[in-house]
Symmetry: C2
Amino acid sequence: MSKRAFNFCAGPAALPEAVLQRAQAELLDWQGKGLSVMEMSHRSDEYMGIAAKAEQDLRDLLAIPSNYRVLFLQGGASQQFAEIPLNLLPEDGVADYIDTGIWSKKAIEEARRFGNIKVAASAKGYDYFAIPGQNEWQLSKDAAYLHYTPNETIGGLEFDWIPEVGEVPLVADMSSDILSREIDVSRFGLIYAGAQKNIGPSGLVVVIVREDLLGRARSACPTMLNYQVAADNGSMYNTPATFSWYLSGLVFEWLKEQGGVEAMEQRNRAKKDLLYGAIDASELYSNPIATNARSWMNVPFRLADERLDQPFLVGAEARGLLNLKGHRSVGGMRASIYNAVGLDAVQALVAYMAEFEKERG
Amino acid sequence: MSKRAFNFCAGPAALPEAVLQRAQAELLDWQGKGLSVMEMSHRSDEYMGIAAKAEQDLRDLLAIPSNYRVLFLQGGASQQFAEIPLNLLPEDGVADYIDTGIWSKKAIEEARRFGNIKVAASAKGYDYFAIPGQNEWQLSKDAAYLHYTPNETIGGLEFDWIPEVGEVPLVADMSSDILSREIDVSRFGLIYAGAQKNIGPSGLVVVIVREDLLGRARSACPTMLNYQVAADNGSMYNTPATFSWYLSGLVFEWLKEQGGVEAMEQRNRAKKDLLYGAIDASELYSNPIATNARSWMNVPFRLADERLDQPFLVGAEARGLLNLKGHRSVGGMRASIYNAVGLDAVQALVAYMAEFEKERG
């Protein structure tokens, strides 16, 4: 294959072709400076400009209020699972977590290593096919924060509402849905997102944190995991992941050119409506998630007969529809349709699904 | 400027042009698969192949014995400053550190937050211009490990010998000299190196650890910082920095094509002999480091009159000789001449230095 495929990978995920083309054009010589962005000192004027522009563009895209700091860190969301309690949970405090699937559970498991964690609600009672309403939640008094996972990348379960927790800081793992639709950042204490789905290359995690939550780290928190240290040093306490940060900045520029998050929301709504519509109208494909909790970004679906999984995947790959195999813990199929996956990709997928059903279903 | 400059940056540092060209050629479409390496699942056959080949090539280059694990992690050397005691120092144990400059001191400072750290020797008595011989070291009995910094990137001070510490695991921060000359890995318990100097892009740190040192992490060690977890999961407990790992693999391939570490050692010897020779032969330039402790990779030098610093840098930049300004804590100049900086770059620098001295010295 010599052309670009339609890539439905859950992450590291597809990037906008225009972004890759720009990165390619300037890979050996950034703006006539005679060197690659990868070869620049992070403290050079050129790189500081790249880094600052990326932050400003993200602030513009999400309308991040000025009392929030934006950090560009390493270690992915999994490292945040430890950083959050190390920074926000006093040793004698309690934090509430909502369990909606595999990623919530990973966050809970890691946080428990550092303090008293209460699962205030779980989707387990709904077989992880629906999200318990807030009237079912058992919130702690004086929780240091409430953590939830707005979109479960593996289960395909997404909140279409933001929890109401009063003064308790709301902490959200937005790795797989940040920038996919409009959100009110001021409702959150801390938002974090691994880059490799809707932002840029892996090896970068973006943390958006309200300033009053800084400076609370435990004495046992490694310096590199301390939000205050990162904020005080503009995410350059040590050398950051400079190329990933730069490439994420190109994605932010691209998003602004596309019309910003509002435009992406419209496009993403059309994409998911098309795909879920095709699933629901078919006899062969099914998705078990409650209608109001279906993920816009990660669409798992099953074929009525498991023996058709392999032929389905082989045929898809032959048409340049890649990475449709579901997560090993769930099986079936999954189409991740992040911002960089266009409506044309979803149209091609839906056309193939119909064709396959006609022939084999 | 439309051609590639000579880049003497201390890090993120110059990369081999051939490596950048290859990355550029396959940036949108890796080997006809229709997607970028940045867009591949880290668990795909294609990416697992890339990752495994990078590790094998590094093993070949350094002749890493089979009882060592090679980890590709995030957070840079600075995160290792915490990870090392969290993994190797029992809460009631003691570790010895050798202080030879700014990076040793950072390692010591961070380690002290996690336990009893003894500075067994310091170059302070030599104004950090020479390394105390091992007969001057005061080693602890039963130290959990001895940590040292074979090359001080800022001070330009480098060991040309390996400490003898018997059964005590030797831990070395080789961020700025790994792969620059031959070493006997079997003398070390753990070697770590931030990638952005002699390996690849920033956002990656390579850890080479003897297997018997795994499994000793404290209960308070975040999962993402636990060497055993990383080793058990092939450095893929979560999504690794896939593009940095891939690009480092291209650097390893390039090093093998160049004749491996032995060939780099010869080339690096010629480069540093040329540059130190020019400094020592001049009236204008000077380097204060004891001859046997001069760094092969980072060559700091001063001009006899500080007022010449600015004109020197301006003239250098006009000739495409970039990033020669010394670290802010030291002043003067610094030429970092890592593997990817060719003899031609050093020749151009030396020619400019002579010309400048003739005109302004």
